[in-house]
């Protein structure tokens, strides 16, 4: 690995893959979770129970299932996604979906009862109530996506299984760190680890700036 060119490249690829994954996960997590909160009752409780359970799903198992789906002989093999950044994005999106959903649920459901009733009493329809819930919890929702990104960027198993750690193509922080440790280049591994930590710290600062309260 040549410094600093490859480190910069890995940094940008890691940000691209994990940010895309967090945003992709939020495209279904936000509407599904807000809808579950809006509907309330059994649907809502069932939804959050499933999400909380899936949070504990082993990363390596998600990687394996997606590997089987995306491999040449798998049902989605025709898409030729295995060992591409896109496969890593899909894998990480699946991984962070329960986390983002649970966090959004926690944020939005806090005062949902009164807020929904208030909107309904003035004649707000489903779409308007959902819009209100999103708008009133914007910072919390953004914070949830950021935490999803943090989880994705620090993940190794899926990145390795679906990306393959191909230099200049699918190598990201975690796979590069693992590789450098195998090679005995601990100084480089530590440098990459510190950059990863720095990104985490910046994100925590962003969340604090947004005034998000868990």
């Amino acid at each position: 690995m040549s410094l600093p060119g490859e480190i910069v490249e890995i940094t940008f690829r890691s940000l691209y893959v994990s940010l895309s994954a967090a945003l992709l996960a939020s495209t279904w997590s936000i509407p599904a979770t807000i809808y579950a909160v809006y509907r309330g009752g059994r649907l809502s409780r069932g939804y959050i129970s499933i999400m909380n359970t899936l949070m504990g799903f082993p990363t390596v198992l998600i990687g394996l299932l997606l590997y089987l789906l995306l491999s040449r002989s798998g049902p989605l093999g025709i898409l030729r996604l295995l060992y591409t950044p896109e496969a890593m994005i899909i894998g990480q999106a699946v991984l962070v979906t329960p986390l983002i959903s649970s966090m959004i649920y926690e944020v939005v459901s806090k005062e949902r009862g009164e807020l929904i009733e208030m909107a309904k009493t003035f004649g707000a329809g489903g779409r308007e109530v959902v819009e209100l819930l999103v708008e009133e919890n914007r910072e919390g929702i953004i914070g949830s996506i950021v935490i999803g990104f943090q989880r994705a960027v620090g993940e190794l198993g899926i990145a390795l299984m679906l990306g393959g750690n191909i230099a200049g193509y699918t190598r990201v922080f975690t796979t590069a760190i693992a590789l450098e440790i195998h090679r005995g280049r601990f100084d480089l591994a530590i440098s990459l680890g510190l950059i990863l930590l720095l990104i985490d710290l910046v994100l925590v600062a962003i969340i604090r700036l947004l005034g998000w309260r868990r």
Binding site: E111, E117, M118, K120, T121, F122, G123, E128, L132, E136
Partner: protein
């Protein structure tokens, strides 16, 4: 205006109020009762927010849970404040209903809040938040308004102002107030009391 036919109300199948037959007409109706007696439950049910366990709730002869009918506006005991300006909070109902937002400024002026309209409502004291919450309801001038403990958190000056405003403006409409405060009796045309799950 509002009619309850053998209505039982409660949560998770457990009734708090049982087999109520009641008619509420124009004017100001005060619903009294001790804490936990079911005042809020009754108010929410009348406003279309809590379906009855049994029976029917009719507004102008139409079932509010089965037919498309304009429901009463319900204002919570606990202030519901949006993370927006005071003006946006008061105007919320008007905006949803597609009505002129001028009324938000008018009602704020009546209660002396015109100078804080641009302030973030979440920074206000509990008393002002309560007032803003109530003004959101008053701004839309509903035919039927349901206020749940409207005087809580308000100081004496605003309690007086609110009671006077309600007395002057809701004689020809239907106003239902749930409260345990005796001072509301002076503006009420009718007083109902909830005792042991029944309305007397």
């Amino acid at each position: 205006m509002i009619r309850l036919v053998r209505v039982s109300l409660g949560y998770n199948g457990r009734p708090i109020l049982r087999e109520i037959d009641l008619e509420i007409g124009r004017g100001i109706t005060l619903v009294m009762g001790e804490n936990g007696s079911g005042k809020t439950t009754l108010c929410k049910a009348l406003s279309g927010l809590l379906p009855p366990l049994s029976g029917r709730i009719l507004v102008r002869g139409r079932d509010i849970y089965r037919e498309d009918v304009e429901k009463p506006v319900y204002i919570h005991d606990k202030p519901v404040i949006l993370r927006r300006s005071v003006y946006e909070n008061i105007a919320y109902g008007l905006r949803i209903r597609g009505e002129s937002l001028e009324r938000a400024v008018e009602i704020a002026r009546i209660f002396g809040l015109e100078d804080i309209l641009e302030e973030p409502a979440e920074n206000l004291s509990a008393g002002y938040q309560k007032l803003v919450s109530i003004l959101r309801g008053l701004a839309v001038e509903p035919e039927i308004l349901v206020l749940d403990e409207p005087l809580n958190h308000l100081d004496r000056r605003y309690r007086e102002k609110l009671l006077n405003h309600l007395r002057e403006n809701y004689r020809e409409k239907t106003l239902i107030i749930a409260s345990h405060r005796e001072e509301i009796r002076r503006i009420a045309d009718t007083t109902l009391e909830i005792i042991d799950g029944k309305i007397k």
